[in-house]
Symmetry: C2
Subunit: 190 residues, 2 copies
């Protein structure tokens, strides 16, 4: 809808990712976005609302990227065809980690800064993680369906673990470790 609104959300997404939420002041976002303060407070009533909008955008972007990446990389996976899509998901993580613009999972970071579970920001993070698990289940839908739930849990844990390791410990190859574990784990279900 609004071009100014998009500029604000896009700029805030970048700055929040790079420097954290509380460490990023409104004034910096405004300066880098080239937007006046009043415009921000017309679109969003508060910084908290802007954070929520940023997380919503990040969720949409992540889901779209995931869909595209899995579709592109699944055909070139080796091994049982039923494992191709979940394995491709980890190639997507690998590309993300090594892209040079990786700053960890924005939802994990937001949960760390806004820890209280009754905070709207925290609830958006819960929602993202739940929907991500649904996505993983759908990627696993070709596997023996009796264990899809268990597999999705395990794969989700390995994905979150890889994101955390890559960010906190700087191990940018974490996605490849995770992919090896996923392959071994899924093979045990075939």
């Amino acid at each position: 809808m609004s071009r100014r609104r998009d500029q604000l959300v896009t700029t805030a997404l970048r700055l929040f990712s790079q420097n954290g939420f509380r460490a990023t002041g409104i004034d910096l976002i405004l300066r880098e976005a080239g937007v006046a303060k009043k415009t921000l407070y017309n679109h969003f009533g508060s910084k908290e609302a802007l954070v929520v909008a940023v997380l919503d955008k990040r969720h949409a972007d992540f889901m779209a990227t995931t869909r595209m990446t899995v579709a592109r990389l699944a055909p070139r996976q080796r091994g049982d065809p039923r494992m191709r899509r979940p394995l491709a998901f980890f190639d997507g993580l690998d590309a993300w980690f090594t892209s040079g613009s990786f700053h960890g999972c924005l939802f994990i970071n937001a949960s760390a800064e806004y820890a209280r579970s009754d905070c709207p920001i925290h609830q958006v993070c819960v929602s993202h993680k739940v929907r991500l698990l649904d996505t993983l289940e759908s990627l696993l839908s070709e596997m023996p369906h009796a264990n899809v739930r268990d597999m999705a849990q395990a794969v989700g844990l390995l994905a979150d673990g890889a994101i955390v390791r890559a960010h906190t410990a700087g191990e940018l190859h974490a996605a490849r470790s995770a992919k090896r574990a996923v392959r071994r784990l899924l093979e045990s279900y075939l």
Copy 2:
């Protein structure tokens, strides 16, 4: 050594865990610890140094708790005896998550708030995660040693993933999901 210093670190550890680092002001720490501001700046030259001291204490506490918990819970694990200690580690995570005083991994949270990799705080987090991997390797030392490195990587990812899920998504049973995955994964190495 100093009683005041310990009060400051202990109080700051609690407040940083509950509310985050940047959201916790010096004045609150001082009030709750019952210590004067000058005393803090005599022991630590800055808030950043206090954060580092808190993370050092947390690392020591975590390692001590892990050692004790694994020693106590390993004997009651079912399955191959060589898997007992790594499995017991996840029972320790489960007890932590459901203890009522779980606020995520302090090092993951610190990395989220102090994102720049040249920041001393971030480096303490890297160091913690590296030492944790060493610990996991030692817990896996009874497993076939050719694959200890790979197994420790996978188990570490599942542990970090469980911590993140439990905190960000509020899934306090995440440690049990992770433990099931670890059991299955380690069995594939026997």
